[in-house]
């Protein structure tokens, strides 16, 4: 379960998150939509404390923290419960594929190396990367790198996985492939909550239990995919969706 209450965040004079609240049940898949600069990514980064929010409250599973008074220990604990998949993968360049996946297990979770290797191999195999264990990121294609990054996130068995535009840096063919994998994860994981920021509308419609539309630092509208895509209530949502030409990918 993940709950955000009245989260606020400013960069200098610019208030990016004005007052966002969000509640997600365990195992739910949430897709956040919205124009650039609406605060989607910032929201995701605040959940993982990659940005420090200025105010508000965050609850993940049984852990609640207030953003105005967070301790290092709290941040650490929250990060243990979450995993982040970045737009530009951010694989560790000095580590092989398997090293990337093992890093968090061995160093942060203190799992013995042999056991960590086993877990890492299992997740890389799931991603179809069984022959790429010892490849450095520079030897992998974009799609492969993103799959390693997803394996890295899944291996930690987090309560919440955050996907920040996971396909924005990929070509159309690889987008379909990567979205397919995320879809598979979404349907297979029952105790993991998934939050995805994306611009892939048909994917959002197919995978989400709930769609959240954000604009200008606020949540404008939220509801089931059908509610948002077929029967949007707010003018801003209609406007945004009408401007997006639907592109179909083969997922």
């Amino acid at each position: 379960m993940l709950e955000i209450k009245n989260i606020k965040k400013s960069f200098g004079n610019k208030q990016v998150l004005k007052d966002v609240s969000l509640s997600v049940q365990t195992g739910e898949v949430i897709v956040i939509l919205g124009p650039s600069g609406s605060g989607k990514t910032t929201l995701l980064r605040c959940i993982n404390f990659l940005e420090r929010a200025d105010g508000g409250e965050l609850t993940i599973s049984d852990k609640t923290v207030n953003f105005t008074k967070v301790h290092k220990k709290d941040i650490f604990e929250i990060r243990q419960k979450t995993a982040f998949v970045f737009q530009n993968y951010n694989l560790f360049n000095n580590k092989t594929a398997i090293g990337n996946v093992m890093e968090g297990l061995v160093v942060a979770r203190k799992i013995p190396k042999s056991k960590a290797a086993e877990i890492a191999k299992h997740h890389l195999d799931e991603m179809g990367l069984a022959d790429k264990y010892d490849c450095f990121p520079s030897q992998l294609s974009g799609g492969q790198q993103q799959r390693v990054a997803i394996a890295r996130a899944l291996a930690l068995n987090p309560d919440v996985i955050l996907f920040d535009e996971p396909t924005s840096a990929l070509d159309p063919e690889l987008i379909g492939e990567t979205l397919g994998i995320i879809k598979k994860i979404a349907s297979a994981q029952n105790n993991t909550t998934i939050i995805i920021v994306t611009h892939e509308m048909s994917f959002a419609q197919g995978v989400a239990h709930k769609v959240v539309f954000m604009d200008d630092g606020f949540v404008v509208e939220e509801g089931s995919p059908d509610d948002i895509f077929l029967r949007p209530k707010k003018e801003r949502t209609k406007q945004f969706l009408s401007r997006i030409s639907p592109i179909e990918y083969n997922i």
Partner: protein, 234 residues
Amino acid sequence: MNFNDLFSFERLIENMPNVLAGLPVTLSIVVCAFFIGGLLGFGIAIIRIRHIKILEQLIIVYISFMRCTPLIVQLFVVYFGLPLLVGLVGIDINRWDKLIFVLIAYILNEAAFLSELIRSSILAVPAGQTEAAYSIGLSNIQTYFRIIIPQAGRIAIPGLSVQIINLFQGTSLAFLMGVLDMMGRASAIGVNTYHVIEAYLDVAIIFIIISICLERFFIYLNKKYSYSLIKGGY
């Protein structure tokens, strides 16, 4: 006057052991300056990256002094200035070996240059690497030592190779302080025998051989830690 008075291969070979005897002194300057200076430089780089107040301002002044004055001036400043400075608090270091003053000067100089090299290398590691490390639950220190430093080290290798070869050749100034390194010995041979060319040529040969070895070593390092970024090294 025949050619043999100017130059002879016998003397070149004869003088070689005498000149080579200065090599340990030269190498000890290089090793001390590079490693102690490197450690100091690392600390300085961290202070600058973390923007620690007051210390950072002091360090900026120190670095700009070290980078904007000739090494020979720094050697003299340390050699003549340091005893006066510590003399003020009542400690007499005039009896110290000359080599110690020379080492201090080289360490300080090297720390300044290396700190800038280390700083730029650390900053060249993309911020996304740090974020990814945080996101999988690594602490600050773990992130630094497991992700940032290895990648920064890789970026620093070509710069370090230039720096250490520069330093190695820069040690030849130490003989002006009266240190008996290779240059010191060569000039002593010149004074005693009136045959200067052979001894200095010996020095040149040794410098060339060691510089090439250093260069090769760094090319090897560069390849070894390429993470397959560059096929076949540079």
